[in-house]
Structures are given as structure tokens and as C-alpha cells.
Amino acid sequence: MEIERKLREIEAFLEAKTQKNLSKGELWIHLEELYQLCKELYEQASIDFLTGLYNRRFFEKELELCVERAKRERCVFSLILMDLDHFKSINDRFGHLAGDEVLKGVGKLIRESIRKVDIPARYGGEEFAILLPGTSFEGAFSAAWRLKKKLREYQFGTEEKPIRVTASIGVGTYRPLNGTSAQEFLSEIDALLYQAKEKGRDLIMPERESPTEDKALEGISFEERQALKGVWSYDDKHY
């Protein structure tokens, strides 16, 4: 593999450096190579280096897989999208380093609040996403609720300069029967997250019960009733 070969070359170069006197030109070539290597690795990575969560690319691939699996195996999964509230002002007031520390801390809180099978990702600057395989709305909602609670109770920063953070959250469950695509599903949850922001932040949308429970049970149609009648008015002589 290309990366392995390059690594070995640089290794050999490092070993040789004490014996040989290298020209500046050679040094530059190796430095260039090292840079390319880092870039390639970075592009292939599935981890967000700041928080240790998965990155956006990996998340999007996993989301596609979850949708495919849900369609094939009739299983549901849920998605939590979470955006930190007023994060810009944290950066402005405490500096970018403090902001990065908060992001790291949030990553840690997320990892501590989910199960092994869940997939946590840093989706954007201060936006996080969690995929919960095989989890229905209630499970996802309670996970989101616990996370939100933990977050608002947690003290980031230092004793002298405590930083408090809240988040707005959108939660939804993918149901294979509606046949929505991964992208559509993601936009749906993103719209919920946006609603939570609009409504005043530090909120989860939808606000409480599962949306399917609100739907009144429409019962069965006249036609179906007629067809069912045939079920008990059958005649023994058919058999």
C-alpha cells in the first residue's frame, strides 16, 4: 500500500539522518512527502481528532447503512441531532482554546451517556449526531433527555472561570415503511433541531410523546369489514 511504503521511506530517512549529512533539498522532499501522508491519512480518517467521536463523513456513511438495514430487516433506528447553544459567544468570551475544551468535554459526556452499539459523531463545528440502532422513539427520546440534563448540569472551564453550556436537540425515528431516504430523514431531524432553536433553545423537539401515538387509530374501513365478514361466514363444504 502506498501509505505503508511512504512510512517505511520516512522511517529509513530518519534512521539515516545521523549518518548522512542531508542537503536542504532532500529535507524538503521528505517534508513534502510527510505532509502528503498526513493529508491522506486525515482524509481517510473516520475520527474527529478533537473530540474522538466519529467525523461527519463516517457518520453519513453509517446513516446510509442504517437506512438500508432498516428497509431490509424491518428494524427501526433513531437519530439525535444536537447543537450547542450560543457557542460563538463562548469562543468570544473565553477564547478558542476554551471552546475546544468544551467540545472535547461534550464528546466525553456523549460517549458516557450512550450504549456501545450507538454511533456518536461530531457533525459540524458545534453540532453532534448520535445514531441509535434498533431504538424506537421512546428510547431515543429518553437518551436525548438524559444527555441534555447532564450537559446543562456539567461545569466546563475552570473553578475561577466556569463555563455553562446548553444544547438544542432534534430526535426522530426512522421507520422503514415511509421509504424516506437517508438525506430526507436527516433533513427532517435537522428541521426539528432548528425548531428547538427557534423556540428558545435548551429544548428537545418534538417536545414529548411519540408522534405515532398522537395519530388517532382510524380503525378499519367498511370494505375491510365486508371482507372480514367472509372470514366467519365461510361454509364447511368448501373443504
Binding site: E73, T135, G139, S142, R175, L177, R225, L228, G230, V231
Partner: protein
């Protein structure tokens, strides 16, 4: 794997079937029978057990779900429900969330979780069915039971994504059960686009009624009775599905 035992109409024989099915499968599989009628326990009553800790302590007092599990004395375990606890009749989403996480954990420790659901199509009944990999729908050969079974299957498949159904006739002769299955499935197929799997018929059997009065599972003392034999056969019908599911789980993670 989780299977819900459900019916739409009440009193068709869910609990008595669930108890005996758990017994039929328990020598080979680790079975947990979950009394899913959370606020109106019926499994422990049927077996004359008096659990100290129930799902009530888990959901309202924060006890661990494992602390509530008891041995049935017949080879399988039971997660008992509470008796007459109003808050649990329609648990809120936080309780359901906690319960789901607990049940998923137990699902790793048992081969089979059987949910004995309450009657009707209340949100909590639908919720248990949605959680289960398969919904086993019981019907008896009478119009109200068939209509309710159909209505339940319709709501579950249309709004809850449940597509895996078993049908089982209770208090019906083999022929009767099968005829009803054929007709019911035709309607389900036509309007809902599904083909539920037929598990067979359990006949009306006075021995079963006697077992209920004795508060002992029929299979524990009268294995040769007609109903017991039929339930054992249903157990055999189900076994291939467990294997499929464990393969699926292995591929998934």
C-alpha cells in the same frame, strides 16, 4: 429475541398460552416471560406467585430491572408486573425509554423474551409489539376476536413498521383454526400486503381450564393433554425463527 403475544380482544388466552409456551421452550432456551400488562399483573396470578419486587419498583423507584426477575419454578424466569398501579397502565415516554433499555439488556442474557401483552390496542400494547421482532397474534374463532386481530395487525403494520406476524388460533380445532387463518390471511394480504405465518391451533381443552384453577401450567402436569400437545407443536414451529434471528444478530454487530 423478543416476541410479543398479543390479541386485540381480551380474554382469548394470551396469558395461559404464554406461560405454557415458556415452559415448552425452557429446557432448550433461556426464556424470560415479561408480564407486559404493566399495571395489571396476570402472569404471577396465573402461577400463584407473590413477587416482592416488580416492574413498578423498576420504573417508579429506580430499582435495577434484574432485581425484579424471579424464577417461575418451571424452568423459565418472569419479570412480574404490578397489580393495580395506575401510573403504569399507560407509562410515559421516560418510563418506556428506561424499560426499553432494560429489556434490550436482558435480551442479551436470554435467548427469548416473551411479552404477554394486555388486551386492546392501547399505546403500551403497540409499544411492546413495536419492540418485538415478531408479534404473535392469538385469535379465537369468533367475529369480534378476528376483527380485533385484524385491526391490531393493521395499526402495527401501517404505523409502527411491524411486518412480522405469527397467527395462532386458540380454542379452535385444527380444521377450524386453519380455515380462519386462510380467510383472515387473504384479507390481510389484500389490504395490508402481508403474509403472516400460521403457527397452528390450540384446541379448547377442559384440562387447560383445570390448570388455571390449579394455578399451574398445563404442561407441568398434563403433557399428554390435547392443548399441551398442541402448544408443544407450536414451540417446534417457532424454533427455526430463533435460529434465523441469532444469525441475523451475529451479522448485524
Amino acid at each position: 429475541m423478543m416476541i410479543s403475544i398479543t390479541s386485540g380482544k381480551g380474554g382469548v388466552g394470551k396469558t395461559s398460552f404464554a406461560v405454557n409456551l415458556a415452559l415448552a421452550l425452557s429446557p432448550e432456551y433461556r426464556v424470560l416471560l415479561v408480564d407486559a400488562d404493566l399495571g395489571l399483573a396476570n402472569v404471577d396470578v396465573m402461577l400463584s406467585l407473590a413477587p416482592q419486587v416488580t416492574v413498578r419498583h423498576v420504573l417508579l423507584e429506580g430499582r435495577s430491572i434484574k432485581a425484579a426477575i424471579i424464577k417461575s419454578g418451571y424452568g423459565f424466569d418472569i419479570l412480574p408486573a404490578a397489580s393495580g398501579v395506575v401510573e403504569l397502565v399507560q407509562p410515559d415516554s421516560e418510563m418506556k425509554g428506561a424499560l426499553e433499555l432494560g429489556l434490550r439488556e436482558l435480551d442479551n442474557e436470554y435467548d427469548l423474551l416473551l411479552f404477554d401483552t394486555g388486551a386492546g390496542i392501547s399505546p403500551v400494547v403497540l409499544w411492546f409489539n413495536c419492540l418485538a421482532a415478531y408479534s404473535l397474534v392469538l385469535y379465537t374463532p369468533e367475529p369480534t376476536s378476528i376483527t380485533d386481530a385484524y385491526a391490531l395487525i393493521k395499526v402495527l403494520s401501517r404505523d409502527y413498521g411491524q411486518k412480522n406476524f405469527f397467527l395462532l388460533a386458540n380454542q379452535a380445532s385444527q380444521k377450524e383454526g386453519e380455515q380462519y387463518y386462510v380467510h383472515l390471511t387473504r384479507v390481510i394480504n389484500r389490504y395490508l400486503g402481508l403474509s403472516p405465518y400460521f403457527l397452528g391451533s390450540v384446541p379448547k381443552d377442559p384440562e387447560l381450564e383445570r390448570s388455571i384453577r390449579l394455578q399451574r401450567p398445563l404442561l407441568s402436569f398434563k403433557r399428554e393433554s390435547k392443548a399441551a400437545q398442541a402448544i408443544l407443536k407450536v414451540g417446534e414451529e417457532l424454533k427455526p425463527f430463533f435460529q434465523k434471528e441469532s444469525l441475523k444478530a451475529a451479522v448485524r454487530f
